[in-house]
């Protein structure tokens, strides 16, 4: 038996893996490793890379723009995560019923998820246009003077958060829907017989049994959205006056506009570290609250 799992077997496995393994190594693993080296160099693309030791990382410690971008990124995530989590959960609960046209509604809510970010961001830019946008027009009808949205430094990040939550809410909804469908109907029946009310059933059955889905939503959303970029780039380009600059935007700007490839690579690895720490902490904490039925 052991002999069958020898080199011959491994060769066959490697052969079948090759079509995806070779591009993965060429375009992902090797570049990632090379970028570690690059983060210790100064390179403007025009002249040869120059080894600078840890200067890039030391520079980041004193870079006010980078710190501001980190804070803005955290601000974005702090605003975005509760919205998609609660919004997605509520939507899933609402659409988990046997209603007429529910499949159609689910599709409708999922549609923004598969739409290009550029399109969504442009549409939201027009919706939230302070002068000509429909949102401020509607606010005007009820006597509220709408804010300057993405043109106002205090409202620019909330504008981006709003657009992002709208786009991604369908994704969390689908995860939660799948979670809901995995909860056996009998639990609810038993609880009802024991006289449990709606809220009590949600608190003691639905929410705990949904915790694997909740955990997945939180982990994935954090990993993806600490890297927020597209919507920022289209809606504000980090403005006005730098009030929405985020880390990935700083990376792109430093690499391709300022010609500071090494510095941008160092930023990427710091961001990688931040994401890694957040995710490891979450994996550790999950034991305390995630229930696998």
């Amino acid at each position: 038996m052991v002999g069958q799992r020898g080199w011959r077997f491994r060769l066959i496995v490697a052969l079948f893996l090759a079509p995806s393994l070779i591009p993965l190594i060429m375009f992902l693993i090797v570049p990632m490793l090379a970028s570690v080296g690059l983060s210790f160099a100064s390179w403007d693309l025009l002249t040869h890379p120059r080894w600078v030791g840890t200067a890039n990382y030391r520079g980041l410690v004193h870079d006010g723009e980078f710190h501001a971008a980190l804070l803005h990124t955290l601000y974005f995530v702090a605003g975005y995560l509760p919205l998609v989590f609660c919004g997605g959960l509520l939507l899933a609960l609402a659409l988990h019923q046997r209603l007429k046209g529910v499949a159609w509604l689910r599709t409708l809510y999922f549609l923004p998820v598969v739409t290009s970010w550029v399109v969504v961001a442009l549409v939201w830019k027009w919706l939230l246009n302070p002068q000509y946008g429909i949102v401020n027009r509607l606010l005007g009808f009820v006597g509220v003077q709408g804010p300057g949205w993405w043109l106002d430094p205090h409202w620019a990040m909330p504008s981006i958060i709003l657009a992002s939550a709208w786009k991604d809410i369908g994704f969390t909804m689908v995860i939660f829907l799948a979670g809901l469908q995995a909860i056996p109907e009998e639990y609810y029946e038993a609880a009802s017989l024991d006289g449990a009310g709606r809220w009590s059933r949600f608190r003691n059955i639905t929410f705990p049994l949904l915790s694997p889905a909740s955990f997945f939503v939180v982990v994935i959303s954090l990993i993806n959205n600490v890297q927020v970029f597209d919507q920022v780039w289209v809606m504000t380009q980090g403005g006005p006056a730098g009030s929405t600059s985020v880390v990935v935007q700083q990376i792109v700007q430093n690499a391709f506009s300022f010609g500071r490839m090494g510095y941008a690579a160092a930023m990427s690895w710091v961001l990688f570290g931040v994401i890694l720490v957040i995710t490891v902490v979450q994996l550790r904490l999950q034991k305390r609250w995630v229930v696998y039925a």
Binding site: F27, L28, V30, P31, M32, A34, S35, L38, W43, D44, L45, L46, T47, H48, P49, K125, N129, P130, Q131, Y132, G133, G148, L151, D152, P153, I223, N224, Q227, F229, D230, G239, P240, A241, G242, V248, I251, V252, Q253, A255, F256, S257, F258, G259, M261, A264, A265, S268, L271, F272, I275
Partner: protein
């Protein structure tokens, strides 16, 4: 994760290409027969491809041993592509740069030294160029580029709005005061008509700074001096417009200023001569005039240049192509004929055709503006410089800080940048 990986991948693929290129030694072909010179351009596509193709035909007829192959990219992607090609050892033999990016390329060693070739070429006469344009593309005493085209900025005005308000048309004798007085009379905010439009950004700032008698850097370019009293007053002049004679960013609501001028929403508009063709079919009459003076007159002078790569295998042929492209009578004539920017040469015959075109009537202002040119302040880290100053101007415009504070903070950052980038 995907985005991060993408950015990292892009960086490293480029690195890999460099390494690869270092190994692949160029096998120089014996250039006995036809030589192909590559050319990379942002200004030709999409509107002037036919003109470029026609020029290439003329050139190839005159130089049967040289063939030109060209590629184009839009300005917004051009420099990323160019950098990657240079980094990958695949630099085009000849390419375009604008004045803002030229200095960085010239000082990095990516460009061919043209002074050397020029010395050995008796047919080359630098005197055909407008001197300021020729000097603009040298570093120290070394020439790295030939001036290909130029443009400047003028005061556009809507004649119909002036007539309706009973305000006399602007003249070249105007100062900032005259402009403001007229702008106030022309503004009718309730109708959405504004007297003036001058964006608050890097390019406008360094120009009004010059109009106010200030300088951006000290003479040796070792220190930023734009936070001087002249600079603060210049920025205050720009800041006095939004909300009074010009829409604030919120009032403008993200509409482009050229669209608003075209809609007849601005009586005066500071913009470049590249807008002439876009404004050909307005429903109102308009004209241009040299911009009003502050303490002195100062006008933007923007120029593009054609350069050769320091790594080109065909320096002589590349030089012939550059000479033809920038300054030959054929090229100047073709450009004027197709309204493809103006060549900075002293070619009166070609210019007379340009001056006869309408609108605007006062095309002479395009040439008059050249009497007081102010060039873009350039350093090696140009994009960072513009980012720092641009952000400071935005902060001042949003009222987050005073003009003095904004400029002081920006000058401090720029000084650090000057030290860091040498």
């Amino acid at each position: 994760m995907k985005r991060l990986i993408c950015a990292v991948t892009a960086a490293v693929v480029a690195l890999g290409v460099v390494v690869g290129a270092a190994f692949a030694k160029q096998a120089a072909p014996a250039s006995t027969k036809t030589v192909t010179v590559s050319y990379f351009t942002f200004s030709a596509a999409p509107d002037h491809l036919n003109t470029l193709k026609a020029l290439i035909q003329i050139f190839e007829k005159k130089h049967p041993n040289i063939q030109i192959s060209f590629q184009t990219a839009p300005y917004s992607d051009y420099f990323t592509k160019l950098q990657t090609q240079i980094a990958g050892g695949q630099a085009p033999d000849t390419f375009e740069l604008d004045y803002g990016t030229f200095y960085g390329y010239a000082t990095s060693g990516a460009l061919m030294n043209l002074s050397k070739v020029a010395k050995t070429d008796p047919t080359f006469k630098p005197a055909i160029y407008y001197p300021k344009a020729y000097q603009a593309f040298s570093v120290g005493k070394t020439q790295f580029g030939l001036p290909e085209s130029f443009s400047d900025v003028l005061l556009f005005y809507n004649k119909d709005l002036f007539k309706a308000a009973g305000v006399p048309f602007p003249t070249s004798k105007w100062t900032w005061k005259d402009e403001m007085a007229a702008a106030k009379k022309l503004t009718n905010a309730s109708k959405g008509v504004w007297g003036d439009y001058q964006p608050i950004q890097f390019y406008e700032f360094y120009k009004v700074l010059a109009q106010n008698g200030g300088a951006f850097f000290n003479a040796k370019k070792t220190k930023a001096t734009f936070d001087s009293p002249a600079g603060i007053a210049a920025l205050d002049w720009l800041l006095s417009k939004p909300g009074t004679v010009m829409p604030t960013q919120e009032q403008q609501g993200g509409l482009a200023d050229d669209a608003m001028f075209k809609l007849g929403k601005f009586a005066m508009w500071h913009n470049g001569i590249w807008q002439f063709s876009a404004m050909k079919d307005t429903t109102f009459q308009w004209d241009v005039v040299v911009e009003p003076a502050g303490k002195v007159k100062a006008n933007h002078f923007f120029a593009d240049t054609v350069v050769a790569s320091s790594k080109t295998a065909h320096p002589k042929e590349a030089w012939e192509w550059l000479k033809f492209l920038a300054g030959s009578h054929d090229s100047v004539k073709a450009r004027v004929g197709s309204s493809w920017e103006l060549a900075p040469v002293q070619d009166k015959a070609a210019f007379s055709a340009y001056l006869k075109q309408r609108p605007p009537v006062n095309r002479q202002a395009v040439l008059d503006a050249l009497n007081n040119p102010v060039l873009t302040p350039t350093i090696k880290s140009e994009a960072q410089l513009q980012d720092i100053v641009g952000k400071a101007l935005q902060k001042a415009q949003l009222g987050q800080v005073s003009a003095a504070q904004a400029l002081h903070d920006a000058a401090t950052q720029v000084n650090q940048l000057l030290v860091a980038s040498g």
